[in-house]
Amino acid sequence: MADAVMGPVTGARSARARRFGLRNAMRRKSMIAFTMTLPLILLIALFVVYPALYSLNLATLNRSMERFVGLGNFLFLFNRETFWMVVKQSCIFALTAVLFKAIFGFVVAHFVHNIPTKGQRKWRGMLLVPWVIPPAMSCLAWLWLFDPSYSAFNWIFEKFGIGPIPWTGDAMWARFSVILVNVWIGAPFFMIMYLAALKSVPEQLYEAAAVDGANFWQRTWYVTLPMMRNIIAITALFSLIVTFANFDIVRILTAGGPIDLTHVFATWAFRVGIEVGDIPLGASVSLFMVPILTIAAIFILRDIHRRGNEA
């Protein structure tokens, strides 16, 4: 406080000098700010922007990376059946998984919100565990649960007279398995986001709805969902990006098999680019993720800007 009293003393300098000093200070402030963000800018430029542009360049080269082939890699992909299978499987995988994560998360969040506040912490803590375990580690547990000869699930089903299920052996079951594991990992995240959103809905709205005679479904449809629309949208979009670009689950559970039927973009790009060694083709495959990611990113940005303006 004592220093504040000294303010007018410095203010007594001539107006011109002060304006000059102010401009100087502004310039210095800009310089300091720029220096503080410089490591961030360098990191993003070197390891994100440059590789992103470089992959555009790589995608136009031939396998030995000596000759420019233009769109040759893309044309080659369009003529391959496996590529279209990967496109289809990636879309099915991402959309189904996000949908079920959203539904599961919403339902679980509701149940947690329903019980007395005292116990909520404990349940929330338990239900978030799948999200905390590194996906590579939990996928190993699932791989072991799905083991063709020692599957612990099949052991239970056998007691009920249900024959052994080929969890990762059959194409349809393998697709189901990778989606199931993805839902298992991702649903807790939705649950946490929705729970935070549920808590922010003012209770008066429910009271008003109850006075108007709304039943449970009406209250969910006309009060809860509209109030949570923003969070639902942004969580689903985030999840869509992450799920669409997912690598760990498919790689560990099925490695793309049986006969490449469960490959998604990321795992197929890894197979083609790193394991087979055709780097340009691998880069082309992963570039096909860009359109969908861009659309999701635009929607997220719009949402964030809109909320920024409301605040």
Binding site: D3, F47, V48, P51, L128, E207, R219, F270, S286
Partner: protein, 304 residues
């Protein structure tokens, strides 16, 4: 809670019976607990099964007895793994990489977030949006060009980056820094301006404002960001799988998968033990700092 009270309220308005309110509420509660238990079982089966298998001998696993029960529990798998130099190398690599990346992330993102949230300069708003966009770029888009970049760099300078664990120190920050910066911008922006103006009037410079005012006030956010950075670098699987291959250069997740799964021989007892030990650090952090962990999770979408 409100939802249930409200349902009871509508029926009670017609027939004023006091018993029905509490009875309906009790039933709604019972159903909630019933379904929560079902979900908890679904969510906890894999980690519990990891634990069950990790306590079994190979003989017991291949005997195909009840897989959900341990007849002769043994710590043999744990002792064997924790005394294997290979596994300890993975653990050490993982620990060094994660801790270094956390430190780098904080050193980069905290000053940047401070500058972006408080010191407006030319292009700062664009840069903040750019940081957020970078966070949305998945690693699966960049691993192939990065792989080629490091190979070319190695050929040109003779500094080998591929198949060295420290290449991860360069690439992991791209996964952690954008999110941490974004979250810290949100936390810093919520600090009242009067606080830093008072400090500036008292003669503090920007470094002092950051270290004496902003960091202490935004400490919860800082902890949340640190936890995020640690868990992300500990769990990362694609980059080490693509960039490292020799057994002495691997980090834990890749090490367990590539070295414990030898051909068609799966030693499941050891794999599950390794997986459980690999999951332990994030789980322990979560157990002790749950509130910060959850704050970090929700901050990404709700702050900013």
């Amino acid at each position: 809670m409100t939802a249930i009270t409200a349902t009871a309220g509508t029926s009670a308005s017609r027939k004023p019976r006091r018993g029905s309110i509490s009875r309906e509420r009790r039933w709604a509660l019972r159903w909630s607990y019933f379904f929560l238990t079902l979900f908890a079982i679904f969510f906890l089966v894999p980690p519990v099964y990891m634990l069950i298998t990790s306590l079994k001998t190979s003989a017991e696993i291949s005997a195909a007895t009840n897989p959900w029960w341990v007849y002769r529990p043994t710590l043999g798998n744990y002792i064997e793994l924790l005394s294997s130099p290979q596994f300890l190398t993975y653990f050490r690599n993982s620990a060094i990489v994660s801790i270094t990346v956390v430190a780098t992330t904080m050193l980069i993102s905290v000053p940047a977030a401070f500058a972006l949230s408080r010191m407006r300069f030319w292009g700062s708003a664009t840069l903040a949006t750019g940081v957020f966009l970078t966070y949305l770029i998945p690693e699966t888009l960049l691993f192939i060009p990065l792989f080629k970049m490091f190979a070319v760099f190695g050929d040109a300078t003779g500094i080998q980056l591929i198949n060295r664990w420290w290449v991860l120190l360069l690439v992991y920050p791209t996964l952690t820094v954008p999110f941490c910066t974004w979250v810290m911008i949100g936390y810093f922006a919520s600090i009242p301006r009067e606080l830093d103006e008072a400090a500036l009037i008292d003669g503090a410079n920007y470094r002092q404002v950051l270290t004496r005012v902003f960091i202490p006030v935004a400490l919860p956010g800082l902890i949340a960001a640190t936890i995020f950075a640690f868990t992300v670098s500990w769990a990362q699987f694609l980059y080490p799988l693509a960039f490292t291959t020799s057994t002495d250069q691997l980090v834990l997740p890749v090490g367990i998968i590539t070295s414990l799964i030898k051909g068609d021989v799966f030693n499941w007892g050891q794999i599950m033990t390794g997986a459980l030990l690999g999951a332990a650090p994030p789980l322990l952090i979560y157990a002790f700092l749950m509130d910060y962990y959850i704050a970090g999770l929700t901050a990404g979408a709700t702050k900013g």
